[in-house]
């Protein structure tokens, strides 16, 4: 029934699917239809192999061991940093800090920059569509320091409501905003917000967890001050995230976690910090994970981030059309209605079936969607729902996956008629 609007896809998804071993798996006798990449993506053979190869040939602790495999490990680790810098348009690798996830990246900024720059009488600006990772660190710090937290509201079309931007941004020291909502798919106008922040004398932190995996990223074009993202959402391994920040900021910020590698000297009565970026990398970093992230970046670069974006716009359009045509008023898809203004994250309300029940029934058909508040409870309250069922698309998804989702949705009527 949807054959009439087959999309013109710049990616060869059949070939891509074959790169992802887990997609060959069956669930309840059906092929796995993985539609939960916004929570975490799957890894291609190329990433798994890179990590395995590294582990069986060049693994050692990093930080300038003298022997050959330690040199190779160091080179592998620092090459990953270089690859990250290139991937996001960072002017230098010195400004790329490896963390365990984007949550730690944001907490690092809160503890280091925030703790020394925010106090009573100050204020910061977040939005109502932030992930808890970009709310709770600020709530925690505000409890301690007594600054004010303001929120940009979400408009009824599920974009940011910028009507009151001038008033809300006036006097704030930081704007911290997601580049793409993990619930609505909304793409936020980062360049405009950065300009407004700078005009107001504020810095801007961009939570790019959902952006970097799906669209070309250029931190300089954004004119951002801090940008964080996470490896496991861009075909990479768990256990690694990235904080990029302008060099001058990193230079000026106090260290966060203390320990090995982040020091220049330690005495019983004091210590001095190492250079950036190592000043912010206490202890043994996620070494093999950095190598995996590098391979993931290479994989995506091989596909081309422009092509990845085009694929997702087309497939999101196909999904919106298919679901709306097949289910009409029985389905509500949150977020902007134009595919070009959003990412491939489809938060659904379907008849009166609760998202948990929806996800449970879809699973019987091999279809993986996440049900819950997606770590965005304030946004859920704004939407007036307790939870949504979220289907999210990535490079390994195609129309057949969307069709499988639609077919499985029909099947909910067995129990919830």
């Amino acid at each position: 029934m949807s054959a009439d609007h087959r999309i013109c896809d710049p990616l060869d998804v059949a070939t891509i699917k074959a790169d992802f071993p887990i997609l060959a798996r069956q669930v309840h006798g059906r092929r796995l239809v993985y539609l939960d990449s916004a929570a975490s993506s799957q890894k291609p053979r190329q990433v798994l192999d890179a990590m395995q190869d590294f582990s069986v040939t060049s693994y050692a602790n990093v930080h300038r061991g003298v022997y050959s495999i330690a040199v190779e490990a160091d080179e592998g680790f620092e090459a990953a940093r270089d690859a990250v810098a290139r991937f996001i348009g960072a002017p230098s690798s010195r400004s790329v800090v490896f963390t365990k996830n984007v949550t730690e990246a944001i907490n690092l900024v809160a503890h280091s920059w925030g703790r020394s720059n925010l106090g009573a009488g100050d204020s910061i600006l977040l939005t109502e569509m932030e992930h808890h990772a970009n709310i709770v660190p600020w709530l925690m710090l505000a409890e301690e320091k007594g600054f004010e937290i303001r929120y940009l509201p979400v408009a009824d079309d599920h974009t940011l409501d910028l009507t009151d931007l001038d008033r809300l941004i006036d006097g704030v020291k930081l704007v911290s905003v997601t580049a793409m909502s993990n619930v609505l798919g909304t793409l936020n106008p980062i360049e405009r917000l950065a300009a407004a922040a700078h005009a107001a004398g504020a810095l801007i932190l961009v939570d790019a967890a959902q952006w970097v995996p799906h669209l070309p990223t250029d931190v300089v074009a954004w004119d951002a001050d801090f940008v964080g993202f996470t490896g496991h959402k861009l075909l990479g391994p768990s256990g690694i995230g990235v904080l990029w920040a302008r060099e001058e900021l990193l230079e000026a910020m106090p260290a966060f976690l203390g320990g090995g590698a982040m020091i220049r000297d330690v005495r019983l009565d004091g210590w001095t910090p190492n250079e950036i970026p190592w000043k912010f990398e206490a202890g043994t970093p996620p070494i093999t994970e950095a190598v995996g992230l590098h391979a993931a970046i290479d994989y995506l670069t091989g596909l081309g981030m422009e092509a990845v974006r085009k694929h997702e716009v087309a497939l999101t359009g196909y999904a919106l059309r298919t679901l709306n045509e097949r289910f009409g008023d029985d389905i509500t898809i949150h977020g902007p209605s134009e595919p070009a203004q959003r990412g491939g994250v489809l938060s659904l309300a379907f008849r009166d079936v609760h998202p948990h029940d929806l996800s449970q029934i879809l699973d019987q058909h091999g279809v993986c969607v996440r049900a819950g508040h997606h770590c965005a409870k304030p946004l859920m309250r704004r939407l007036g729902v307790g939870a949504t069922a979220r289907a999210s698309l990535y490079v390994y998804n195609d129309e057949s996956d969307v069709d499988a989702l639609a077919d499985a949705l029909e099947a909910t009527s067995t129990f919830f008629g």
Binding site: H28, H354, H356, D357, Q360, I361, Q364, G372, G386, F416
Partner: protein, 158 residues
């Protein structure tokens, strides 16, 4: 993994479609307790009117999935009019049934003998244990009830 018929028994869906004892009670004299499932967003508020050691009335406000809603509805029927001791016993039995399969995070698999007769309709929720992430849906109302009973005990004139 088990089939969905084990989860979505007719009686469960019936309680989901027509939840019993919906609403609120005036606080005080009633006590009010709130529960959250931190992972899925289910929320529940249990109102208990306890007098002379008896749960005289119970009302429930809730949003959540079929399992959490039906469990709350069944709870309200199972405890209304019962002595607090008996309510605690039903609760213990129900949670024991739910935890048979739960992650060993909860500690040792203490075996509480489950008396299916005492549980009545609630026994229908036994199928939930085959779906580990849903166990918290089924138990949310019960932990919230526990808080309410504790509070009522604290508030009671001695």
């Amino acid at each position: 993994m088990a089939g969905l018929e084990d989860l979505y028994r007719e009686i469960i869906l019936d309680h989901y479609r027509s939840p019993r004892n919906r609403g609120a009670l005036e606080v005080p004299p009633a006590v009010r307790s709130e529960g959250f499932n931190p992972l899925c967003g289910d929320e529940i508020t249990v109102y208990l009117a306890v007098a002379d050691g008896v749960v005289e009335d119970v009302k429930i406000e809730a949003q959540g999935c079929s399992i959490s809603q039906s469990s709350a509805s069944m709870l309200s029927m199972a405890v209304k009019g019962k002595p607090v001791d008996e309510v605690r016993d039903i609760s213990r039995q129900f949670l024991a049934m739910m935890h048979t399969h739960e992650s060993s995070l909860e500690g040792d698999d203490e075996q509480v003998a489950v008396d299916e007769k005492a549980l009545g309709d609630l026994a229908a929720l036994q199928g939930v244990v085959k779906f580990p992430p849903r166990i918290k849906c089924a138990t949310l109302a019960w932990y919230t009830l526990g808080q309410g009973l504790d509070e009522a005990a604290g508030a009671a004139p001695t």
